[in-house]
Each structure stands twice: as structure tokens, then as C-alpha cells.
Amino acid sequence: MSSQVHGTQHFDKAKRAEVKFSDEAMKVVETIISHYPEGKQKSALLPVLHVAQAEFGGWLSPEVMDYVASILKIKPIEVFEVASFYTMYNLKPMGKCVLEVCQTSSCWLNGAEDIVKYIEKKLNIKVGETTADGMFSLKVAECLGSCGTAPMLQCGASYHENLTYDKVDKILDNYKSEGKLRSYTDHDYKNTL
């Protein structure tokens, strides 16, 4: 197992031994598994991966995927094939706050490209990169269902809509001063619908 390759990341047996959900996260995972009939626990995979990503630093390492496989009693490859299919799972380390700017039609019609350029300049990174301090990663996303409140960006569970440059400044300042990992599973989302 120690030489197994997951994407570009290598599996580390020593690290794997350290991966373990907190009691709180384990409770959430058990509740998710209970939603499915006996023997169908694989169905819990997508939601459990979200919990794992939030719990283990915002990305899914080969060790974390192996751990999730052991909990759901499935093969590690079944976890990897799902994690690599869906866009919300990160297979490499990311910044604490991943900014995902929607770029599809309605957002483009309302200036999404300018928002991307503005953030690139402000953070001095390109799309797909992470700031040197590890605070922000910038991504573009396909339609996030916010077309009537375009342009928009998502960070963790929060939707930030009707963006202007001023608004982007404020949003980024807030996240920076907060300084914490932002995840899709966060309960303190700030949607602005």
C-alpha cells in the first residue's frame, strides 16, 4: 500500500495512522450512514467526503480517502473515483478560503470576467493558484444557480452575490481577518439572497 499512487499524491502509511475523525465529526458521519438501508452505506460517500474535507484541512489526501473507505467498508478506489469525478472535492492542498467565481452565461453577462481579473490583481495570483500565505485560492466555477443575483462567488457554504469591486474588497478583508478554514459544511454561512 505504501507506494500506491492517488493522482499526483503519494500514499503515506505513517500519515494514514494519524487520520481519525473527531468524536463530533464521527457522530455526523454515523447519522449520515443511518439515512440509508443496511448494506447500502456506500451511498453515504458523497456527504461523508464533504465532512472529511472540512475535517482534514480542506482537501482529500490519499490517506483520508483510505480512511473514508475503511469507515464505509468499500475499496479505496471507489472513494477515489468519486472524489476525482465531482468538482467540489479537492485532491491537492488549497488555501483556507477557496474563492469560486461563477463564469457561466448570466454571470458573464453581468461582468464575472471583471471580478476574476480584479481578484487576480488584488491577490496577485492567477485562477488555479493559492496565495503565498495560504489564505486564498482562486477558482472559476460553472453555473452556481445565482443567475438572478449575478455576478457572484462562493466561498465554502457562503454565497456572495450582486458583486461589485467594493463588495469583493469587503468580503476578502473579512475572510482574511477571520483567518479560518472555510468549508461547504460550515453552519455560519452568509448568503445574501
Binding site: P37, K40, S105, S106, W108, Y159, Y165
Partner: protein, 445 residues
């Protein structure tokens, strides 16, 4: 003011709570169905209503329900498709966020009709916060006895769960959704068998859109015939329209099917006309997959009749001069919009979202994106327009699921109605984006 059946209470304070929802007549359909109707009677009302699937395909809901296999001793499932991802569509998000109990009430009443002991609401992962709202509402419903064992003291017991996705447009296709719900990649299944026979974990399953399930509530409350009085012909009832783009009042509107498209775009009750006094250039009427139409064809059919917001009127003329109601994702573009670049955003989208199972879609969507990129780079030739046409024609009808068509139709329609614009860009060897709508600078100036 048109009649509203789904989001008439959206502005009521705290309507997302069970207490307020109940005070406004919530859960009456559960009481009526469980205490006074048989499951088949509920299905009959849905058939009488003429309700059609609100996710985009427009298939009659009552008929879909009647296909559900009911073998003895096998669980049946209702799955709600809340994987709203069609560009231009955000109505289900609005409904779930504002009035989550409307969906849960519909889930219970529909599950009673279908004999489903459990149901799942599959919500796209990006809507995680919406899933939180729905989960909270479900917990309230359990605490008040609307979910769980022996609801209202009857024999009917029901459990309802939320599952979040992982970010994949394809999971809005019902068999891909079921794969995803089983913890797999969202690769659509070959049909038959249809989910009504072998769906979730191989069991008979009905998959319905959020809005479809919510519409079951007024249908059961008022009767299917009453619902069918709204609308025109086979387009009965009300429809949520997500309006976006260059309009004065973007947002979610509930319309009576049958109002003129012109009224929807220009009246203050709805979109309020085009922003900044600009003229309208084109409209995508039902989400990114449906054919784009230029102003003259969206307002009037080729026969010169006013175009109406119905399944039939919008598709009048076929794809040559018509479009589709689809999901109701209504994107309006002003006169400065580049159709070429808008199409590029669509093709990039479909390339990104192709699951990769079928070669025509996996390869074709990438080719179309690449060629459109050439137009934006100023390196396209006139012959590339024909090449684009050729590629799209070889995707349609040649894939397991309709993502192939969804990717091909917008390309075909853009060339069909705006060919000159493509040729102009190719000839001039440079792309000038005058459509760059700079609202952002204006606000900051």
C-alpha cells in the same frame, strides 16, 4: 396579478418555520390525502391536473407516477431532484430556501400516493446552505409528527432524508442522480430499465423536480381540475421562471402559464424591461440547453402570433423558429451582447460537465469549446462555422443521456439565427467584446 400557488407566501416573515407555514394553511394536503383519499385518488388528481415535470423535460407527472412498478415486498422510493444546475435556473433554490416546508409537504403527500416509505431529496452540493435549511425543516416536521411513524395516526409512515451532491451538472439527469445517490460517479444509466422499474438500489423509483413535488400540494388541496383551469391547453397551472441577464428586475417569478412572452419581459410585474434603456437582442427561454431566439422570434412566432409562455407556444415552429420552455431559466441579452461569446460560455460549460461516458459528447463538447475559443482569439476561419455545425449535428441523438443534445442545441441555434455574427468575427480576425457589460465600474464610479 396572476394566480400564485407555490411562492404566494414567500414574503411572509418566518415562513420557513413550521409554525408560520402551518398558520398559513401548510400541511393541509397531507391531512386531506392521508385521512380522506386513497393513494390512487391522489395520483388521479395529479393526472387530472395535467401537471408536467418542471425540471425541464415537461413529461406528464401523473403518467410518470402510474409507470411505477409495485411488486410485493419491494421498497419503492421517491427521489426529489434538487440538483438544479441548468445555467439560468435558480427557482428551486429560491423555493427551498424561502419555503422549505412546501417541498417537504409535497414529498409526504406524493410519497403517500406512490406508497414510498422513504424518500430522498438530492440537493446539489454547492447549495449546502440550502440543504441545511431543508434539513432543519425536516427536523421540525419529525418533531411535529408530519414525518416518522404512523403520521396523523394512520398506517402511513414515512422517512425523508437530504443528500448533498459533489458538484456535477450531469447528476440532474435522473439516472446519473441515482448513481450519485448510491455513492458513485454520476454516469447516466442506459434505459431501459427506467427508474420506475429499477431505480435507487434497483428498486422502483420516481424522480421528480422540486417544483413538481411542491405543485402536488395545491393540486391535492384544490383538486386537479381546479389546477387545470389555469393555463392553456396542455400547459396547465403555474410555473416558476428564473429571470436573469440584462433586465431591470431579475429574480424568480411565478407565472400563470399562458401569459405573453412580451408581457413577461416588459411589464413591471415581472422583468421590468431591458436595463439601461437598451434594446433586446436575444433570449434563452428555458435554460442554457434550449435554442436561443432573436427578439423577433421570441416575441412572435414565425406565423406572426404573439409567443406565449407555454410549452406549446414556445416550441411553435420547431427548432427552425421556436425553442422550449425547459426549466424556465429565462436569460435576456441586450443589443450589445456577443452571441459568439455567450455561446462560448455555454460550450465551455458543457465540456466541463460532460461525464465522459460517450465519445460524441466527451470529444465533441471539447472540440466545440476549442473552435469557439478560436473566434475569441481572432484565429477562426469562415469554414469554422460549418465545422461547428457539423460537430453539433454529430452529437445529437448519439449519446446515452440528453447532455449531448443539451450541448448541441445551443450551438445549432446560435448559428441558425446569428450566422452572420460568426462570419463577421471570423472575417475581421479579431474579436471586440462590446458586450462587456460594465455594471461593476458604474457602481464604483
Amino acid at each position: 396579478m396572476g394566480k400564485k400557488l407555490l411562492i404566494h407566501n414567500d414574503k411572509v416573515a418566518n415562513i420557513h418555520t413550521l409554525e408560520v407555514y402551518r398558520a398559513h394553511g401548510g400541511y393541509a394536503s397531507v391531512e386531506k390525502a392521508l385521512k380522506t383519499m386513497t393513494p390512487d385518488q391522489v395520483t388521479d388528481e395529479v393526472k387530472k391536473s395535467g401537471l408536467r415535470g418542471r425540471g425541464g423535460a415537461g413529461f406528464p407527472t401523473g403518467m410518470k407516477w402510474s409507470f411505477l412498478a409495485k411488486p410485493e415486498g419491494v421498497n419503492r422510493y421517491l427521489v426529489c431532484n434538487a440538483d438544479e444546475s441548468e445555467p439560468g435556473t435558480f427557482k428551486d433554490r429560491y423555493l427551498m430556501e424561502k419555503i422549505p416546508h412546501a417541498l417537504i409537504e409535497g414529498m409526504i403527500t406524493s410519497s403517500y400516493a406512490l406508497g414510498a416509505k422513504s424518500s430522498y431529496i438530492y440537493i446539489r452540493g454547492e447549495y449546502f446552505y440550502v440543504a441545511r435549511i431543508v434539513e432543519k425543516a425536516i427536523a421540525e416536521a419529525y418533531a411535529a409528527g408530519w414525518l416518522g411513524k404512523n403520521i396523523l395516526g394512520t398506517d402511513f409512515s414515512h422517512d425523508c432524508y437530504v443528500q448533498v451532491g459533489g458538484g456535477a451538472y450531469i447528476c440532474g439527469e435522473e439516472t446519473a442522480l441515482l448513481e450519485s445517490l448510491e455513492g458513485k460517479r454520476g454516469n447516466p444509466r442506459i434505459k431501459p430499465p427506467f427508474p420506475a422499474v429499477a431505480g435507487l438500489w434497483g428498486c422502483p423509483t420516481v424522480v421528480n423536480n422540486v417544483e413538481t413535488i411542491a405543485a402536488v400540494v395545491p393540486i391535492v388541496n384544490d383538486g386537479g381540475e381546479e389546477y387545470a383551469k389555469i393555463g392553456i391547453g396542455k400547459s396547465t397551472g403555474t410555473k416558476l421562471i428564473s429571470a436573469s441577464g440584462h433586465i431591470n428586475k431579475p429574480g424568480v417569478y411565478e407565472i400563470e402559464l399562458g401569459i405573453p412572452v412580451e408581457e413577461f419581459i416588459y411589464s413591471d410585474e415581472y422583468c421590468g424591461g431591458i436595463r439601461n434603456g437598451k434594446k433586446m437582442k436575444a433570449v434563452v427561454a428555458g435554460g442554457s440547453s434550449v435554442p436561443i431566439l432573436p427578439t423577433e422570434l421570441i416575441l412572435k412566432t414565425a406565423k406572426g402570433e404573439p409567443r406565449l409562455m407555454t410549452y406549446e407556444s414556445l416550441s411553435d415552429g420547431g427548432f427552425a423558429t421556436g425553442t422550449m420552455l425547459g426549466s424556465g431559466g429565462f436569460i435576456v441579452m441586450d443589443e450589445d451582447t456577443s452571441i459568439v461569446k455567450n455561446l462560448f460560455t455555454f460550450s465551455r460549460f458543457y465540456h466541463h460537465e460532460s461525464c465522459g461516458q460517450c465519445s460524441p459528447c466527451r470529444e465533441g463538447t471539447g472540440w466545440m469549446e476549442k473552435i469557439l475559443k478560436k473566434f475569441l482569439n481572432g484565429t477562426a476561419n469562415e469554414s469554422d462555422v460549418n465545422l461547428l455545425w457539423d460537430i453539433q449535428s454529430k452529437i445529437e441523438g448519439k449519446t446515452i443521456c440528453p447532455l449531448g443534445e443539451a450541448a448541441a442545441w445551443p450551438v445549432a441555434a446560435a448559428i441558425r439565427h446569428f450566422k452572420q455574427e460568426f462570419l463577421d468575427v471570423a472575417r475581421s480576425k479579431k474579436f471586440v467584446d462590446v458586450s462587456h457589460y460594465n455594471r461593476l465600474n458604474k457602481i464604483n464610479a
